[in-house]
Amino acid sequence: MSLFKGLMDYLDVRLGVRDLIRQNLTGYLVPRRANFFYTLGAVLLALFSLQFVTGLLLLIHYRPDAANAFASVQSIMNDVPYGWLVRYAHVVGSNIIVIALLLHMLSVLFMASYKKPRELTWLVGFIAFNLALALCLTGYLLPWSQLSYWATTVATDAAGAIPVVGEMTVRFLRGGAMVGEATLGRFFALHVMGLPLLLGAVIGLHLFLMRRAGISRPPFGPDYEPPAPLTTFRHEDHPDGIPFFPHYVTKDLAGVFFFLAALAWVIFFAPVLFIPPTALEPADPFVTPPHIKPEWYFLWAYQTLKIFPSKVVGLGAQGVFMTLLAVLPFLDIGPERRPAHRPLFVACYSLGILLMVALSIWGHYS
């Protein structure tokens, strides 16, 4: 009897692991036509895990106080063995995660996988997306560079536009009148503990909802027909599907490897792609650097506000857009998922992407 079989027997008697494996891996069938976009969930899990590990390693040497934060990051980059690799992996990884999140969301939208019975899966995923952006935002301040300092100053200043409680909110976010030690402490706590815990829980819920409802079948191919409306809970089975393990996992792994290859390429050959020069200078509250611009994934919003004559209207438009996106499954309730049968949606979808890209490019060069 091999050691592995012995261990499996031991666990099987106590936990029924063979049954668990059959139910969730080898006997769990996923759609045959699941395309490459279906691997993005696994890619994101791998990337978030990498962020967790690299973040943990950075925590060993990072010092979250205004006097030492920048120097500690410099030390990580220059003195700590392979510190540069860990930090670049963390910084570049966060940007690759946003790319993967956007692709994941866009593919779900295109295939209308958000529709009944997966409205909650979409909503929870949308919350996870926003939490990931909040992680990016709080992480921005930690190196205590000129970019960190001023980006956070203007970002927290935005809260001042809120009627009545604006000023109070700004002070609350900063922990004082200006960005300083208290702000760094707050953002640090959120970045390394609050947000990761919350995001972990939300991702767990997202996975639970996905597993509970079953993976949606891609709405393509001659044999696809919109399902009959559900009146009671039913897990979407795929009796003609392929086993999740090992069949589908190999495809997931391929997706993970290709994304990691892209990540490694940026780390080794274009490490400053996502790092502007102002991120390399220590924070100086007395010198405002020119041309402060938000990260690439906020550029569309940045440009939107510049287009609208009134700040309130611009903010309102963005708020309406984000809200519409969050509640889309509750508005788009028809059973049809095939893109070819949803010309209006596909037109809005394509124009929306073009608009976002155009606004971002405009924002970059404006």
């Binding site: 959120l190 589908y248 190999t250 050959f269 390399l280």
Partner: protein, 272 residues
Amino acid sequence: MKKYSAALILPILLLLIPIIAPSFAAAAEETVCLQCHGGQTGHLGEPVPLWRESVHQANGISCHHCHGGDPTDFAMAMRPERGFIGVPADNDIPAFCGRCHVGVLEDYQASAHGRALGSGGPQCVTCHDNHRVLRASIDLINPQDCSRCHDYGRAEELRQAVSGTDALITGLENDLAELHRLGFDTKPMSGTVFSLRNDFHRLFHSVDVEKVRSKTAVFAQDLDKVEKEVAAIQSDLGKRKLWGGAMVVLLVLAGLYALLIHKSYQEETGED
């Protein structure tokens, strides 16, 4: 309240995400000097676009740093009680610039150029221009500019004497800027090169070819130390790229291998 601060900040941050980015627009503010003169035409407006091209602008030196005054107050910006100096007379320009460029002033004053001040000799802006202040470089020694006052022959000798060291300094500055951009802590090396550069430029303000030649070896020796440090980092960078390239290739191969296995499963199960 303090205990729950972090928990309360989070929802506020999340709510702010869509509205945070746009407020980046108003970050950079300009001094009242630039705001007022920037909108004027004629000679009062001329300095602003010229200054925007200058080495001073690139290094954060603005109007009030040279001309004094209060850059935050329209009404008091040009009042002497706020330290406003205004435009210096031609012969006062070396002293005006020398408030910051102390070493250069000393060498200039001891040079043939400095000794001729007041009798047709050049001062700072003759070569470096005013407002558009040109970065001190070997390009300022050229037949067109030098021939405005004297024969180019002696100036050319000086240019040849400084060109090797100047090229070395410029090359090192570029290398260090590139390394800094990649996140390397180049501050000590940049400090050394900056100091050597200033001493060297101070030296050729003496316009004394023999003096420049005799001191060039000392500069070359000090620059060589920095050059070796830079070369060591660049070698490390080369190794990083080599390992990185190997890692990228391995990851792509691993991805292709996983796809190949997936394809074999597809064929096994008659998958589409």
